[in-house]
Symmetry: C2
Subunit: 276 residues, 2 copies
């Protein structure tokens, strides 16, 4: 069963209709068990993807401040081998990055074959924060949806598997999480006065997300909306979607590896003057 | 207790005198327990290093083919958060890389503050394979030891903590590992006819390693020789050395985080018009 919400390509998305508290009929205990199983399988599949070297995986994580992007990475990729897994956080663009088109810095970080790359924020910020705060005029940001679609399409047609997650929390949940950080001294360093300022633009962000999800939602680069008020359920949804995407490749990758093994063995035997 | 062998800076190293079978008086069960404890602590320290953002860590793994560099990474960094941990494998240089000085591609991959980077092979290949196979004349490679020392010194003086590991296996152990790969179909893809050819240069590699370890062994960028015939003991040695290096920074990093937390809280309260 697929727990994430997958809007149909092109269909209008109303985030207000999706309950961030959803739990898929699971309780916390069952959910955490499921995450352990899924992350183990994800670790195995990542190792195979790495060894086979025929495909890459790009996971894009988006969500409003405190929606749990860091926590998702920590939990979902706990069994992935750091050799072969790359996490790229995108921050405010540097002057050099700003002097290029918005996809320039992104393109440099996409995974080569064999690699799993996780984007913590991404080129979607260029139709989110850039739109909400009018960092560029509408005449510019409105063209970007097609740029993004063309770019992702080219990656997908070059053996990059793509999944895009929107971590969906409620406005109340965000307030609670921000206040929790203020109460816990060890978490306070994660605070920023800017978070409360950003919160005032909540509705504008939601609209911008709805548009991005609607306009950039291809079959081979789909969005998955993740009810994320419950952290354990969020982890189930993300881990499951990745495993579901990779699992059908298991046999293909094993076969590719066996082929390679056979031809290396032949080369070694030939070098030794043995006959097969 | 420190299980790795740390040659004194400048002192001559005789690898033949170091037993690759050493186990530090541990058995496998105790060793594996120790690795679990150490990797947990390493995970915590990596998280702190990441959050504090004042230092970086560069771990360099070197060793003859099959000495277990990949396996070490998988085991020792199992609790590290992939966000903040980067593994960089260095392969045969590309034409572009070859058209630069040998440190050019290396410098691009060193960790920025907050990041742990593991080099799977490194600039040391330029005084190892390059020397053994005379890819460049002696007049060139013999200058590189000083280039390396100067380079590592500059990194160390810019808050990069550096550890360099030589995974030390015996020639018999290598033969066993290569033959094991031939017997196991699932491992055969890791084979390369070149491994057996390289093996013929075993003694030359050992001499080249001894020189590199002697000539590039600074107090703030030390070599640790890791008896690596037993994989579990190898993991103990590497994990322990990293944890020992990072542990003294724990309090420094916690304090840096607390400071940042306090000043963010103040900024938030000021923005709200509250008084501290």
């Amino acid at each position: 069963m697929a727990y994430g919400i997958r809007p149909q390509p092109g269909k209008k998305v109303k985030l207000g209709d999706i309950d961030p508290n959803m739990n898929g009929g699971l309780d916390r205990g069952k959910g955490e068990e499921k995450v352990l199983e899924l992350t183990k399988e994800l670790g195995d599949l990542q190792e195979l993807l790495y060894s086979a070297g025929t495909h890459s995986l790009l996971v894009i994580l988006q969500g409003i401040d405190t929606s749990g992007k860091d926590g998702t990475i920590r939990s979902v990729f706990r069994e992935a081998n750091p050799q072969g897994t790359r996490v790229v956080p995108f921050k405010v663009p540097t002057p050099l990055e700003k002097s290029h088109d918005f996809l320039w810095r992104i393109h440099q970080q996409v995974p080569e074959r064999g690699i799993v790359t996780v984007f913590n924020r991404s080129h979607y910020e260029d139709v989110l924060v850039a739109r909400v705060h009018e960092l560029v005029p509408k005449s510019i940001w409105s063209l970007r949806y097609e740029h993004i679609n063309d770019f992702e399409q080219a990656l997908a047609e070059n053996n990059t598997l793509i999944l895009k997650f929107f971590l969906h929390i409620s406005k109340d949940e965000q307030e609670e999480r921000l206040l929790a950080r203020e109460r816990e001294v060890e978490k306070a360093w994660k605070l920023s006065a800017a978070d409360w300022v950003e919160r005032r633009s909540w509705d504008k962000y939601i609209t911008a997300y709805e548009d991005a999800i609607q306009r950039c939602n291809a079959k081979n680069a789909p969005w998955i909306i993740v009810p994320a008020n419950r952290k354990w359920f969020r982890n189930v949804v993300v881990a499951e979607a990745i495993v579901d995407l990779l699992r059908p490749y298991r046999e293909v990758w094993l076969e590719a590896l066996a082929d390679r093994g056979r031809s290396e063995l032949e080369a070694i035997r030939a070098a030794r003057g043995e006959r097969g």
